[in-house]
Symmetry: C2
Subunit: 344 residues, 2 copies
């Protein structure tokens, strides 16, 4: 993302927590971008493991990490954030912006910044060498929302300078509850866990999501939609989402997934220690369940997946995930939450 | 079982619901028994699809069917049962004797009979031809309990004439809650459902029960034990059961199952339409959950498996299984249930 923006003329600084990740880039001064987007050598201004140095004077800060890194990143950068800076999580999963906002404000209550979250990562991409990255796919449309809600417009404007694909969502509750990975990752992983632990080679979507798996996913997806409804935010079913995003002609989740050629060749994880569980349970299912609790919607399927994965990983993801407390909205009503994210 | 008893000198009648099942046997007058037990031609007295004709004047009636047939069988034979007859379910799964008792009494309230249930089927056996059966394994010890409780002794005495392996359990609540198939069948089937639906060939126990699967089974097994405790009946954990029955030297469920050579070669089901779900959910998990409900013990894992399988099979196994109402014990306390099965 940084390389693309640099090639589009932006001044880009690069941060990573680990020296090993930035060592070669620092030495070379930039990276090569390959793939279906722009190609070329992208130069970075500052490359560092010191977050204060990297975000200094930046108007737009892009956070592209697994969601379980958001909290520590927020704490780490809190004291360096400057008034008016716009931070965007790519993506926020569920409650990413709220968690980030709450963590920063606890450390630096005076700062006036904008924290936005994208509904999904705009790219299919990967790092292909120490100083090389490749973009394989770009989504047509990605919604974004911010805290405070009035600044969603500002965030989208900043993003649109480089990416016309970003469009405003009504609220971060909408982007949070449209998190379809919450439905597509943990449950099918759980219902294939024995073969995953045996490192069996199978296609995650086309083979892992059998008719029975899709039927249970559909029930779980209804819980997500009910929570969204309780907050009065717009959402669509996983089937509608599949039709929209992939233009598939299908009526049920099983047919949609089988018909989607973009899923061909996507392998299943090779161990129970996969981000499909370690990221999507605490950062997606836990906050959806918690938002359900806040709004009086029960989420038994989601809760059971959290329970089972907690047992497998020996981590209590109910407590170690994005709880209402961690999101800073415990004790509020749904209307108060909506009001809070609009005008915190 | 009938052939073995005939070869041991009993007068045996044979019943099956389906004419096709008994046609050849009726013609030939008996079957050949093969395997590790007695071998030889076993002659039957009466072979019929008319249950009244078959059970007439019998002192001991052995029921060897999937548990989902118990209810209709009870209704079918209710009016023909004679005072003093002993009926034994091989096995009862959970609540088999109670369900049978309740169904018979509703149709024929005056009859004084004994309905017993074995904790498991004594044999590993199968039908190997139209008039041939083979016994591959015999368990060393199988517990049995009856309604009324005082007649457990009578049932065991009848059984011991042919099988020294049967020993008395304290109550049918004990045999019902020691149903280990409830733990070993539905959950691992569910956690392997995608490969089962793809008819993948894998070993049910050794490959299907991975470390993660065994960890969740262990939690589910705790629920079964807690329900037993609430009724004050003796039970052991699945691990203790494995050590006892298979003499395995192991500390956790995963190691026990991997170490058990008797499981080698047992294939997984080849479709979601398997008795591991269609029998073990409504006839094992539903009544354990219901006994939990009656005794104030919550069983979230068991309940979720019932829910998920209900979705897959499009059958509400919570209602279509062995409910408290169907067992005739709704509204009782645990102590009243124990008293009822002792002196109904």
């Amino acid at each position: 993302m940084g390389a693309y923006m640099a090639l589009r003329g932006a001044q880009v600084n690069l941060y990573d927590k680990f020296e090993s990740a930035v060592e070669s880039i620092k030495e070379r001064g930039g990276i090569d971008l390959k793939g279906i987007s722009l190609e070329g050598y992208a130069k970075f201004e500052v490359v560092s493991t010191s977050i204060g140095e990297v975000i200094k004077d930046c108007s737009l800060i892009m956070v592209v990490t697994p969601a379980f890194a958001h909290l520590s990143l927020a704490k780490e950068c809190a004291e360096f954030i400057e008034d008016g800076q716009v931070i965007v999580l790519h993506p926020g999963r569920t409650g990413g912006a709220l968690e980030f906002y709450n963590a920063v404000k606890q450390i630096n209550p005076e700062v006036n910044f904008v924290i936005a979250e994208a509904q999904t990562l705009i790219y299919a991409c990967r790092r292909t060498g120490p100083t090389e990255a490749r973009i394989m796919g770009i989504k047509n449309k990605v919604s974004v929302a911010a805290i405070p809600g009035k600044d969603t417009e500002k965030a989208v404007k900043y993003l649109n300078e480089y990416y016309p694909q970003f469009v405003p969502a009504k609220s971060i509750i909408e982007t949070s509850l449209m998190n379809i990975g919450a439905i597509f990752h943990p449950l099918p992983t759980l219902l294939n866990i024995a073969r995953i632990e045996a490192s069996e080679d199978f296609e995650y979507y086309h083979e892992g999501i059998s008719k029975s798996v899709s039927m249970i996913m559909t029930e779980m997806d209804k819980e997500r939609q009910l929570v969204a409804k309780a907050f009065g935010v717009e959402t669509v079913s996983a089937v509608e989402w599949m039709k929209m995003v992939y233009d598939t002609d299908c009526e049920n989740l099983y047919d949609c997934i089988q018909a989607n050629k973009a899923y061909t060749g996507i392998s299943a994880p090779k161990s129970a220690d996969t981000r499909y569980l370690s990221e999507d349970v605490p950062m997606s299912l836990t906050p959806i369940s918690e938002l359900g609790r806040l709004s009086g919607v029960s989420t038994p399927y989601i809760d059971m997946v959290i329970e089972m994965v907690s047992i497998i990983h020996k981590i209590d993801y109910r407590k170690n995930g994005r709880t209402l407390e961690r999101l800073g909205i415990e004790g509020l009503t749904p209307a108060e939450v909506i009001a809070f994210v609009d005008h915190p």
